[in-house]
């Protein structure tokens, strides 16, 4: 036996998770091929190795990434990561702030350091360092998620880099931090939190697309149903709750029918809805206090939250969000058709993917991709090339590769004996998942256009290195686990 983090152990080959390495290599190579295809110009065909092509450069990134992976597996002691986590986290947070002032501005966001030919985005790295610090913090022996200090520190670790990134105008990257909710869920966060988050999004969308009234009505109804279900009080729900809901639903319509000047027009339906919500809140508050029922008290909070959102959303939407973000959301929600402007990217991307059909047009045969209809083709919209040239089969295969990769990481994390490995594994599984979900969702019009790369496939050294490091650190951690058995 050699010591921990030894150079080359006898059982090196058997301790490495070759599944993960294999999936990693498949994705990286498919990325390289597709980057070439995305830039391929039938009239001026250059070699895939050509340095003037992005595929040529990507090959260098891939080579260095594999070197990085080997370095992590072979040269770095596995305990190093746990040890270095606080320093790395702090340094990266400083870099995140520094880049706002020192970085180069591209497309309105200050998130890149440019050092000669190399540009580097601290935000990519911060996902890794945040994962490490969370793994270390939550992996402590006596960590309890619901202990106040533990909980708020956890939230702070996530929020600090997230908010700095928002300040960098990289809202998309910041959104990825939501993926840490998965690890919190795994570590005991109530599923209700996820449900609440889901409802917040629903209320947000309803407010924008329909009206604050509809949003508040929905939130109120969901709360009432949840409360009734948790208390087993179905009959009052059916007899009182639902009829009131129905009346409230048609009220705005009826109100609109009232002639101008009618005395009843003074009573706007939203006041009635507010009244109903208020009555419910007071009722839950009293019963909650009397019975000491935590859920009832939380439901009051939920109603207040919903009310707050419906009031805040229009303000945030119109005053806080920037024009392009507003348009993206409006286009995604179908409030605006803007095929030439904000909707152009998505529309073109869907055309490219849609035109692929079942088996695609064949490698390098794409017409949409090669002729530059889709913007950011080799980076954020690389999935278009896959969709167009490899068709549904290729898309499905890519999703399956990602699915296996993520599932494998989840399973290995679950099996891990060390909390550090487990928590770190869930962190990167969540990050990978959200990246794929948002990126692919964006290209097919299910998500707003958020400029985040498709892990391992999109062109770009920064991102490839970061994901390589994430995955290989996990492989190294898992390798360490093997020793126990």
């Amino acid at each position: 036996m050699t010591g921990r983090g030894g150079i080359l152990e006898r059982n090196f080959w058997s301790t490495v998770d070759w599944w993960l390495v294999g999936l990693y290599l498949l994705l990286v190579i498919s990325g390289w091929l597709n980057i070439y295809a995305s830039e391929y110009d039938p009239e001026n065909a250059r070699s895939i190795f050509s340095w003037s092509m992005r595929s040529g450069k990507q090959l260098l990134w891939i080579a260095t990434s594999i070197g990085l992976g080997a370095l992590i597996l072979l040269a770095i002691p596995v305990r190093f990561w746990e040890a270095v986590a606080p320093i790395a986290y702090t340094v990266v947070c400083v870099l995140l702030v520094a880049v706002i002032f020192l970085g180069t501005s591209t497309k309105g966001s200050h998130s890149w350091f440019v050092l000669g030919p190399v540009s580097f985005q601290p935000a990519e790295l911060s996902k890794l360092t945040t994962s490490l610090i969370l793994a270390r913090w939550m992996g402590r022996y006596n960590f309890r998620l619901y202990r106040r200090r533990d909980f708020w520190m956890t939230v702070a670790f996530i929020l600090v880099p997230m908010l700095i990134i928002v300040a960098e105008n990289e809202t998309g990257s910041a959104l990825v931090y939501l993926s840490f909710l998965f690890v919190l869920y795994r570590e005991g966060l109530s599923g209700w939190w996820l449900f609440v988050l889901f409802m917040v999004i629903v209320v947000f969308i309803l407010t924008l697309v329909f009206s604050p009234y509809a949003a508040l009505w929905t939130a109120w109804l969901v709360t009432v149903i949840c409360m009734a279900a948790s208390a087993g009080r179905i009959r009052p729900l059916l007899c009182i709750g639902l009829p009131i809901a129905a009346v409230l639903a048609v009220l705005p319509y009826l109100w609109g029918l009232l002639p101008e000047g009618n005395i009843l027009r003074a009573i706007h339906p939203s006041w009635l809805l507010l009244g109903v919500v208020g009555v419910c809140a007071v009722y839950y508050l009293i019963r909650g206090l009397r019975e000491g029922n935590m859920y009832r008290l939380l439901s009051v909070l939920a109603l207040l939250l919903a009310l707050g959102i419906t009031k805040a959303v229009p303000i945030v939407f119109n005053n806080v969000l920037q024009e392009h973000q507003r348009t993206r959301i409006e286009v995604l929600l179908g409030m605006k058709e803007d095929l030439a402007g904000a909707g152009y990217n998505v529309h073109q991307s869907m055309i490219a993917i849609g035109s692929g059909g079942l088996t695609g047009k064949g490698y390098l045969e794409g017409t949409q991709s090669a002729y530059g209809f889709v913007p950011e083709q080799s980076t954020d919209f690389i999935f278009c090339t896959i969709g167009e040239e490899w068709g549904f089969v290729g898309c499905l295969l890519t999703l399956i590769l990602y699915g296996f990769l993520i599932a494998r990481i989840v399973m290995r994390s679950e099996d891990a004996r060390e909390p550090f490995t487990r928590i770190y594994g869930y962190c990167i599984a969540g990050i990978l998942f959200l990246h794929v979900l948002i990126n692919v969702g964006m290209t097919i019009g299910l998500m707003p256009v958020i400029g985040i790369p498709l892990p391992l496939i999109s062109y770009g050294g920064s991102s490839l290195w970061a994901f390589t490091a994430m995955i290989f650190i996990f492989i190294a951690l898992c390798r360490n686990e093997k020793k126990y058995f």
Partner: protein, 612 residues
């Protein structure tokens, strides 16, 4: 505290999330075909190849309408960079402001949205010289390119109205004919319109790749998917180009029409509507359209097939034939004429001539009274009511082709007007009218309208001694088979024997010695045996219209002509000379009466015609 099932839930969540992505992919890639079409439109540029339009020949193989190449200058506003406006203007021979204005109109915000990456026609029909000058310097003007297309070219100044014009299709036209696209050309009037399907050919296209900046790239599939343009098929018309040209010259500065038919076939030899559209205007109708439309004599109005004129005395022949068929008239019957036909206190006047006359003389001298008697006898025959008799009269008239479209292959043909019994019932009350009430019909006046084509066709019917072929302008050829209806003889309801009885009268009208009283002696050409009938149609718009129909030779006629000269006065003044000169030209090639020809060519009646 951990829940051991949570990772399973999360994996299920993963599968569901990816399942939603896969479902959406399945929908847009396999279910929805729309994206594939969009992709085709997106990444290919289809450059249309416009076919050569079929050539229109006359009956002798002369080209009436051919083709020449001209160029459209296309512009893709999205691809245009800042360019030397003045330079472009100089090359194109235009004012820089014209170009600036166009570019300014295309670069407003809303226009840019609307245009997108599309390519628009900036200037159309540039002559080849101009375009070649542009091509030399085209590299300096990215976003601009030329596109060849063929334009009509007319070697003969013949048949402007007949040929019709070709112009770019407009939105209402595309709506009615969805197979056309903006930028296509279509025949709008005349033969170009009737034979559009034959003449237009098939549009081809070349397909190129293009990128999102609309730059044209490689040839798609190395040109395998290209489609060459199929030129339109040629058409041979029945028109005699020389005769048409001559007819147009004769009709110059007169308003009216001149129609010549080959009686043995129904082929239209000449169809002049004057004033007509000069062929030079046809090729570029767009820039002359205003001028044409504002011409008070309405050159776009094809009088030969659309105008509804009172036929005047020419119509006496119709009543004469009906009378003969009905048995109320015999050629030997004589009727008196004392400067007209008197009924009650009224008189339908006539010119001074000897009296009484028999039928032949009445035709020769065009006696009004004679045909009033005939008409009265037809309607008031003692066997039936006037209304019933009139209905039968109507049937006779209709059998000659009057009162409705003849069914020629000319697109805008109209039917004229022949009254029905019910028309007078409405007007005067049932049974409250009799022959005298509508006596003007006997001499082709009153509530009656015929097109010059009707008259020519009637003349051809007499020439054929009792039948006609539907007049047509497309000649049967290998490319274009004419319909069978143009090969059918249409008999009238009058026995063919009776036609032979009226021909001598027509012959004498032209060929009777001077002083004998023939109304159309001026039309006589020795050796041609022209038979004719004059008409002088009263009308509410100034001087009488001058009308003449004739055919020649008397036996085995080769040509039947109707001339209708608005406000020309007596039939013999203008219509008869014009028609006879046309006949002479057709049968002899030149005239023996240069003095008459000169008088006609120089004659100007425009002042007499009230502008409408």
């Amino acid at each position: 505290m951990t829940d051991s099932k949570r990772h399973i839930r999360m994996l299920v969540g993963l599968v569901i999330a990816f399942g939603i992505l896969a479902g959406r992919l399945f929908y847009i890639q396999i279910v929805d075909e729309g994206y594939k079409t969009d992709a085709m439109n997106n990444s290919m540029v289809h450059i249309p190849l416009y076919p050569q339009r079929g050539i229109i020949y006359d009956r002798n193989g002369n080209i009436l309408a051919g083709n020449k190449t001209c160029y459209d200058l296309l512009c893709t506003p999205a691809a245009v960079e800042a360019f030397d406006t003045v330079g472009l203007a100089r090359v194109l021979g235009m004012e820089p402001d014209v170009i600036k204005e166009k570019m300014a109109a295309w670069s407003t915000r809303s226009a840019r949205r609307k245009i997108g990456f599309r390519t628009l026609v900036m200037f159309s029909k540039l002559p080849a010289e101009t375009y070649l000058r542009f091509e030399e310097v085209a590299y300096r003007f990215p976003g601009f390119r030329g596109q060849a297309r063929s334009q009509r070219d007319y070697p003969f100044n013949a048949g402007g109205n007949l040929l019709g014009y070709v112009s770019e299709v407009d939105p209402p036209y595309i709506k009615a004919h969805p197979e056309y696209k903006s930028g296509d050309y279509a025949g709008k009037t005349g033969i170009e319109a009737t034979c559009e399907e034959i003449l237009r050919g098939e549009k081809g296209e070349e397909i190129y790749y293009r990128d999102s900046r609309n730059r044209i790239g490689a040839h798609y599939k190395d040109g395998e998917a290209d489609k060459p343009a199929v030129p339109g098929k040629d058409i041979t018309t029945t028109i005699d180009a020389d005769l048409q040209h001559y007819g147009q010259n004769l009709m110059k500065n007169k308003v009216g029409s001149l129609v010549a038919i080959e009686p043995a076939t129904g082929e239209i030899l000449t169809l002049v509507s004057s004033p007509g559209i000069d062929v030079d205007y046809l090729a570029d109708i767009g820039s002359h359209y205003k001028e044409i439309a504002s011409n008070p004599y309405k050159p776009m109005f094809n009088r030969a097939v659309q105008a509804s004129y009172p036929p005047g005395s020419v119509f006496k022949l119709v009543n004469c034939l009906i009378g003969l068929q009905e048995g109320v008239l015999q050629p030997w019957m004589k009727y008196p004429c004392t400067k007209g036909y008197h009924f009650g206190k009224n008189t339908l006047g006539c010119h001074v001539h000897r009296s009484p006359l028999d039928m032949e003389e009445a035709i020769m001298m065009s006696c009004n009274a004679y045909f009033c008697y005939v008409f009265k006898n037809v309607l008031e025959n003692g066997k039936e009511s006037v209304s019933e008799a009139f209905t039968r009269w109507d049937e006779y008239v209709a059998a000659f082709g009057f009162g409705s479209r003849l069914g020629s292959d000319f697109p805008s043909e109209l039917g004229g007007f022949i009254p029905k019994a019910s028309y007078y019932d409405r007007f005067y009350g049932k049974n409250a009218w009799k022959a005298h009430t509508i006596i003007s019909l006997s001499i082709g006046q009153g509530e009656i309208g015929c097109t010059p084509l009707h008259l020519a066709n009637f003349c051809a019917t007499i020439a054929n001694r009792g039948f006609y072929y539907t007049p047509h302008i497309v000649k049967d050829s290998e490319n274009v088979r004419i319909e069978d209806k143009y090969r059918e003889r249409h008999y009238t309801k009058v026995d063919t024997a009776h036609f032979a009885q009226i021909v001598p009268g027509m012959y004498r009208a032209v060929n009777a010695p001077w002083g004998a009283g023939g109304t159309a002696a001026i039309a006589a050409v020795s050796g041609l045996d022209i038979c004719g009938k004059t008409g002088t149609a009263q009308n509410p718009h100034g001087d009488d219209h001058s009308v003449f129909i004739c055919f020649a030779p008397k036996d085995h006629p080769k040509i039947a002509v109707a001339a209708y000269i608005e406000n020309g006065g007596f039939g013999a003044t203008w219509a008869a000379p014009i028609a006879s000169l046309l006949v002479e030209r057709y049968l002899c090639g030149q005239t023996q009466r240069p003095w008459l020809e000169q008088r006609i060519l120089e004659g100007n009646l425009l002042d007499k015609v009230p502008a409408k």
